[in-house]
Symmetry: C3
């Protein structure tokens, strides 16, 4: 599956870098990260939850990353730490360094004379950097990507192949933008005028903070008059649509296929489940979790988890129940009638 | 946010172009369009609804566009008109003219010898115009876009970067196609044959009228045997999917993330809310509004607004109510039993 | 609509290739496939369902493909077969052969020296084949597409324009990948660590079987540690999102706009309706049908059809009923109260 060992590290070397306490042989070498169930000798694995204890007992891994609750649940050489999931992320990155890329501008790229490239950039074949664009140090622009006029890409950002960044949009430092993403297309604004639509110019930008990841084929529209803003450390999955003039607070994570209509304001540390649809011109406070598939029609003023999905059932059962949904008011009225009768009897 | 003044116009110059009546100093110069709340001196703003009257009183704009209902609601120099939103669109376009683009074919574009380019076209770097394609006057094709064999792009249309137009598809005049849009991919047609899928050739085209805007990453499939048709002045947001052989009537507006299954027929002047899903082989008449997130399982024969979404509530409350959805029939039956008992008592 | 006749075949020639029995004049020539209602002289059409018998009676086609149930329903020369829909697919492909493409590498393509191209490949202008990629015999890579390092494309596969295949991903034989599709972007994995997100490296691949079709702008994420797997003959429509480590069984068909969250496992011969959302880490057995717009929150252990959608109604009626959804528990409690009263009365 992977290339195999990119290098081998002892638990001692790992704990020296990332902390945690070693139990067992600190010289145990590991060269590959693998899941609990398929790990083999030479691999390191991780457990994030006590419910996987049975799998932990059976694993063939040479070492394991565990939380304090599982510190003594195995005899395998292990690193005990506070946050085994984050620890796993760090070790996995150590064992799987990003591939090297040649720096420089590929001869089949097209870079405008007025564009400004900092040191150590890598511009792939077919990539286009338009007039006045500003590409920060160490930025990598994948094959076929387009960076528009006066757009700005912060240092260390990775733009994969076939991405489109429209004119004047800004992406912060250390970001990742996956293929097919489109940043800065026109917002959906038009006025009905004598039976025809009149386009409203979309002259705001998209301004994206640092450490933001944007999934494949996600689209973020530019603002109508003011900017669309994505704060630092926002994480967006694939196929997301962010309308014009939205504001997404720092550290918020948005799962795939979510739609956020124009001028919605989502707070910090929110989690929006896959396929959720957020209405425009509403506000969601910090620390709100929206369940997958939920439509959010109005502002959410209190942190918490919100849901609105029709429960899935076998189709025939659904047919029977769904038709009754349309008659809930009738059911309610019939209950009222019975209650009134009952009350009448009691009065007698 | 914007480049700042692209030119300055007096209210008199504006009203001369676009009509309306001036109240206050007609020589007031404005150079930028800005929202009511953030407008500053030198800016023109607009109000479309009396509920923003408080904001109107506080605005720092030098001039404002208002409807007749608000003609006397401010002392600021103003243009009074019938449709302030459309008026805003026009003034905003005047103050923010589209950037100039060089005409001609970029040396890193690829144009087939048999393609036909009218005057004043602009073909960006990496764009590909395939055999027999026909590109109308003043068309702009962005970097990395592909126009297939014998496809036709009408005069004045703007194709942004990284768009794909498949063979033989037609786009009308004055259209706008945003990045990542795909026009004319194969419809989803296959026949089950002895346990395997057999592809059904998709030999129809996509035929798109004039003044159509297609959002980023929207996909419109070609027809199976006959064409998929999008009539004039249809406006489509991002991430929309239009299945094969759909027919979308003129002036209909479709918000982001909508899916329209094959052979659906949507009328004129409809408005489809974000994330709505329209079944295939159904018909929706003119002037229908479908709420965001609504699934449309059958034809709609009467103009009006239609909705079908599970109301969002706090998750715990949802859990309690959702489980009862599966038992609506039981509840109905229990009500019936009570009613029968009650009837029985009355008969006694 | 189509180019018109690409060649003419008699019913005899057709039945010799594809089987079935001819009724009527076997020498009848046909050159175009057309729908029942718009077919003209020289066209062949098809009927798949007895409910179209009226249309069959009125058709102007020169010949028709029918099932055994309709063998005598018309006098038109016809081919009678077991599966007229599959037969139609075959005849349609015969009458509409794929356009020829020049083989070879376009001078504006970019092919790494370490890439391996088999015979008869066609690499379009602006396409990029990166280091160590392996392109099978007869593969066609459209304009502007990117094939990443060490990616592998099986023989006979057609990659349309502007597709992105990330490093190390594998696509099987005879596949079709439509424009804007992205195969192998990073899965959505991150760990919260002291108030910030930490990226989890996504080092698995996407491994796609033979005869798979991937729709326009569909995205399939690479696995976190192990691979995301799409088995043979899976058919995916446009705008689909498949999360990391999903496993989709052979012959399953997924309609447009579906989202499948990470580590979901979908069986063989399933049919997932448009816009359905499948939760992560669940399992769906073989032969399950999920209705369009349904959210699947948990595993499905039994074949069958499953649905969970709020029925669409006129907005005003919806408002009245939707508010009652939030009070289902109250309604249930009121019914209980009435039942208890009734029971009390009966005991007296």
């Amino acid at each position: 599956m992977t290339d195999g060992p990119c290098g081998s590290y002892s638990l001692f070397e790992i704990a020296t870098r990332f902390g945690g306490e070693i139990s067992g042989d600190a010289s145990t070498p590991v060269s590959r990260m693998a899941p609990l169930n398929s790990a083999q000798s030479g691999d390191i694995t991780f457990v994030t939850n006590a419910r996987y204890q049975k799998d932990l007992e059976r694993t063939c891994a040479s070492a394991v990353i565990v939380g304090r609750d599982l510190a003594t649940a195995t005899d395998i050489p292990r690193i005990v730490c506070d946050n085994p999931y984050a620890y796993y992320a760090r070790v996995c990155a150590l064992l799987n360094p990003r591939s090297d890329y040649l720096t420089g501008v590929h001869e089949q790229a097209s870079v405008a004379e007025t564009a400004c490239l900092a040191e150590n950039v890598s511009i792939g074949p077919g990539a286009v950097i338009d007039d006045g664009a500003d590409i920060g140090a160490g930025v990598r622009i994948g094959a076929g990507s387009y960076v528009g006029r006066q757009a700005r890409i912060g240092a260390g950002t990775l733009i994969h192949a076939n991405v489109t960044i429209y004119d004047k949009c800004c992406i912060g430092e250390r970001g990742i933008v996956h293929s097919g993403a489109v940043v800065g297309a026109d917002g959906f604004g038009m006025a009905m005028d004598e039976g025809r639509w009149l386009k409203i110019p979309q002259i705001g930008r998209v301004v994206i903070g640092a450490d933001v990841e944007i999934g494949a084929n996600t689209t973020i529209d530019r603002g109508a008059l003011e900017d669309t803003v994505i704060e630092d450390d926002v994480k967006m999955d694939n196929q997301i649509q962010i309308g014009h003039n939205c504001h997404i607070g720092a550290h918020t994570a948005i799962a795939g296929c979510v739609g956020v209509a124009g001028s919605a304001r989502i707070g910090r540390y929110c989690r929006i489940g896959g396929g959720a649809m957020i209405h425009g011109h509403i506000e969601i406070v910090d620390n709100v979790e929206v369940s997958a598939g939920t439509l959010v029609p109005k502002s959410i003023h209190k942190a918490g988890k919100y849901t609105g999905i029709f429960p899935m059932i076998e189709h025939q059962e659904w047919s029977r129940n769904a038709s009754l949904i349309r008659h809930l008011k009738d059911l309610r009225d019939r209950i009222r009638t019975l209650e009134n009768e009952s009350k009448g009897r009691r009065k007698k």
